[in-house]
Amino acid sequence: MSNDILSEIKKDYVLSKLRDGERIDGRKFDEFRKLEIRTGLIGKAEGSAYVKLGNTQVVVGIKMQPGEPFPDVPDKGVIIVNAELVPLASPIFEPGPPDENSIELARVVDRGIRESEAVDLSKLCIEPGKKVWIIFVDIHALDDDGNLLDASAIASICALMNTKVPASRFGLGEDFDLPVNDIPVSVTSLIIGDKFLVDPTRDEMSVGERTLTVTVDKSDNIVAIQKSGDYLLSEPLFTEVLEVSIRASKKIREEILRQCSKAC
């Protein structure tokens, strides 16, 4: 119960600040929190990345193994994205099979990677129609202080950029770098009436979990959109979010390149 009151107070504070044109942590409306990326920390994985976005923390590990292709694309590798919102990461996450929120998160991250054609799947065919590389992208939440989705998307692409295909382990020649051609960046905005805030914190989310995620590729194409939450979105606001998301995505991509090229 006391949680409800606390949440009510937070909500009022966020809204009153917003009326003054400010965010509670002083950021600009289109500004992400501090981003920290570390790759390669999980030696047993083919690739891995730890991302800290403000206080939100997530680890992504990549495992690869040979397997069967989809019948309709017999000469391409397969990507499977899975997210575990383990109860360690938030008082509201529960143990058990993935719920609608973790499934949505995994699927939106998946669409960003897939539709930007970030991974060159045609280079992951071992024997057409029979054997291709399967890539498991496992998102493991550690601390959900808001916007786990964008943090997960960043960690996923960084982990992929950091991945070595373990060919030798399976007697399939020498290991090689996973071919990554694009860096899709998802930008999630919290919608509050006719305003919006990019990369919301958990405290900001207390005004209502109403978000719009726009994923952008390196050529400024939109590759995925997800409206999430029980709200009505006006067309002008949508247009504005689109513009801002494209701009914000560029900055994040630069940050990824800066931190990841160093790390990889």
Binding site: I103, S116, D220, I225, K227, S228, L232, L233
Partner: protein, 244 residues
């Protein structure tokens, strides 16, 4: 099914439609006896049935909300609805569709009128073509009206795809599978006018200009579907009137 070489020949799509043309739609209101509201809907080869139960008691008590009705939405595919038999039960795709569809309806149902109760929306896909989620939302909207659930307006849903660089309305299977992008929309229509977007997803590749263009195309299609939803509902009320 394999990728067609061209999607549009002489301005016509593979099934003969123009880019801004809907597939044939058929709507039947009050299709089921046991449900409080129901609708059968065909949209191309999609065959879907929607049922609404409620407002009714929420059974696992701790799920009740003392301030408003909870909305539940279950999108489910019959095992025989697709080419390869689907194992019964919800998969990840169905769960995601159910979530975003539920949220769209949460935004338009006047749920504050029914505290502690539940409004259940069930949609069964008997045959799935491209756009089954949009067909289901259109059917669910009509079923909600049939059940007498107060709403801010009606939800009308349609998708736009991009094929061969051209935007097309209400994509069929080939366009959906092999097209360059797909955006399902659901709009709130009130007083005969589109007011806002209740559902929006997208995957594929589009510039922001194309997305704006897609909205306009979707709005055109939604207005046409809305007319058909309206007529189906009217027809039922007229028939009921006649039967009295």
């Amino acid at each position: 099914m394999s990728r067609p070489e061209k999607f549009i020949i002489d301005g016509k799509r593979l099934d003969g439609r123009t880019p801004d043309q809907l597939r044939p739609i058929k709507i039947e209101v009050d299709y089921l006896k046991r449900a409080d509201g129901s609708c059968y809907l065909e949209m191309g080869k999609n065959r879907v049935v929607a049922a609404v139960y409620g407002p009714r008691e929420v059974h696992p008590r701790h799920l009740q909300d003392p301030t408003k009705a909870i909305i539940r939405y279950r999108y489910n595919m019959a095992p025989f609805s697709v080419e390869e038999r689907k194992r019964p039960g919800p998969d990840r795709r169905s769960i995601e569709i159910s979530k975003v569809s539920k949220e769209a309806f949460e935004a338009v149902i006047m749920k504050e009128l029914f505290p502690r109760s539940a409004i259940d929306i069930f949609v069964e896909v008997l045959q799935a073509d491209a756009g089954s989620r949009t067909a289901c939302i259109n059917a669910a909207s009509v079923a909600l009206v049939d059940a007498g659930i107060p709403m801010k307006g009606i939800l009308t849903s349609v998708a736009v795809a991009k094929v061969d660089g051209v935007l097309v309305l209400d994509p069929m299977k080939e366009e959906d599978n092999y097209g360059e992008a797909d955006i399902p929309f659901a709009f709130l229509i009130r007083g005969g006018k589109i007011e806002s977007i209740a559902l929006l997803q997208m995957d594929g590749k589009m510039t922001k200009e194309e997305i704006k263009e897609a909205i306009n195309l979707a709005k055109k299609g939604a207005m046409e579907i809305y007319q058909m939803q309206r007529e189906a509902i009217m027809k039922k009320f007229i028939e009921e009137g006649e039967n009295e």
